[in-house]
Amino acid sequence: MVTESPKETGRRKAVSWLTDNRVVRSIFRRGYPDNDLDRAAVMFSNFFLHVLPARTHVHSLKPTYTWGLGIISLFLFVVLLGTGSLLMFFYVPSTGRAYSDMKDLQFVVSYGVVLRNLHRWAAHAMVAVVFLHMCRVFYTASYKAPREFNWVIGVLLWGATLMMSFTGYLLPWDQLAYWAITVGSSIASYPPLVGEHIRTLMLGGDTVGQNALIRFYVMHVIVLPGIMMILMGVHFWRIRKDGGLSRPPAPPSETARGEAAAFSPHKTYMLVELAEGRTPMVDTQAPEEEVMSWPHTVFRMLVVFVGVVAVLSAVAYFFDAPLEELANPDHPPNPAKAPWYFLGLQEIVSYSALAGGVIVPAAAIIGLMTIPYVDRNPEGQGAWFTSDQGRRITLWSILVVIPVVLVLTWLNEHYAVRILVPGASQIWVDLLNPGTILIALFAAGSLYIWRRTGSSRMGALALYSYFLTSYVIYTLIGLYFRGANWAWIWPWQATGLH
């Protein structure tokens, strides 16, 4: 037996006095988990930890597999809830007060500018990180059975994140907000039959005014966060129910049960032993590939959380969230630009509002949601880009799209429908523009690759890479290559947003 020095004994007594008293025991039931039984127990006896498993597969903890993008999204959401709730104490959603409340937050309220910066940058980061998370899930084929439905929930969460950002954009009531929402809500009026009703429903009237401000506010602070929390709850719950994070299928183990054991009338069975079928966990992992979630998973989550808060704090300290002059309904800034994550759509909207506002987003969302039900073979689960062939197809898909998009943009500048035929009918503009042409090309290209390789996964890889690359290029064009009257400029000619 090892003898303790008096100093160590003192330390142990102090720790035990702090953690092993009636009050702490009434909250946590067990002392600090220093053995595997308690480490398992802490995971299901703690309300906040019980969504996590007692043991985690080592593959799920590989930073180069997940890049922590899902958990970073969650932590950004938590930061947004905290900062947003605080900002609400100093913000009144009235067209007469909203802008001056922003100025007060910037110059009068203690730490107001820091909280506003944190909220704005966390929102931008969340839009980006949720999108990257979707890319990670796609390129590791994690949407395949049994995770198809959780992928659909994820697509909905991505849409909800964009709507959160969009509704928050109006609240400062500055020029940027006013005209971005004027343009954005007008895009919503383009779907046939219901379009104008959607716009009226969004704005509570016909112009962006007080009715629109209060509607966006209620959506931003109650409706959308509520929807997101429910969807996130389902999303995390389903990860557990679908067998944890995706990973490559395990080689068939020697201990796998072949025949089900005969039912014995002399034994007491637990409910799980009576249930029909198998859980998704059966035969997929061996004990030696697992580690205790406490501390391995919990500690990593803590590190990620600290990292997220540290990076956000640094950015919020050095960069102020933009605030332009007061909204002026008479005079749009020139060019009037949407938030950066909608600039790719705005570029296509500048060819045809029907293409950019309806056809392309509808194709993207329907395409994303149906991918797991079309690409059904289990190939490539848990491995980046599936195989060497998948890696090649992804790379070539990205490389092919760049010149195609640039050539189409150039053609549109010089040979657009209305340049060739001035006053041409709108039908031709809606049919023949880079947006619709690209959708047709992408569909043809991915079907060709599916046919050629005989693998729906390869077709899906190509399709996703096409959309991803073209969206990034159009966003960059909208950001840096569009000036007054949405005319083509070079980045060094940019004169700011006026």
């Binding site: 004027t182 343009v183 429903l201 112009t207 008479d330 005079h331 749009p332 009037a336 209305r418 340049i419």
Partner: protein, 163 residues
Amino acid sequence: MSASLDEQTPRRRLLLGLGWVSFLVSLLGPVLANVRFLFPNVVYEGESVLKLDSVEKYLVGSITFFTDKKIVLFREKDGFRACTAVCPHLRCVISPFVGAPGSAPDILRARCPCHGSTFDGRGQVLGGPAPRGLDFFRVTKSPDGRVVVDTRKIVAPSEHFKL
């Protein structure tokens, strides 16, 4: 008690079916009521009948751009015409019309700053993404001799209000 649906009498099945149908129908009412609730019946967004200056103030050949009212007033030798200054693409305010004073409507040009749609003085789309032309409004004169533009009444771009 635990008889399956197949073993039940047809009358029981019918009643159960009716119960389900009436339950679903009863849900429809509240849902529609809540959706209808969100559509406003009255909005306070300023006047739709706009009263401008007296008719003599506008010289023949002049084009007046009303920023706050978002309309453009043309005084031509045939009379008055008025069109919206809101681009039909995504509702940005267009730039004022440019062209030599007194030039024919098809020579005039206006551009939208947001996505570069171009219009002539008849409101027609010449280029850019605008799906249709600018709307023209009914122009009249009030009893006290002022120009009145009724933005609820859309008219043909060629229709003039003759004095």
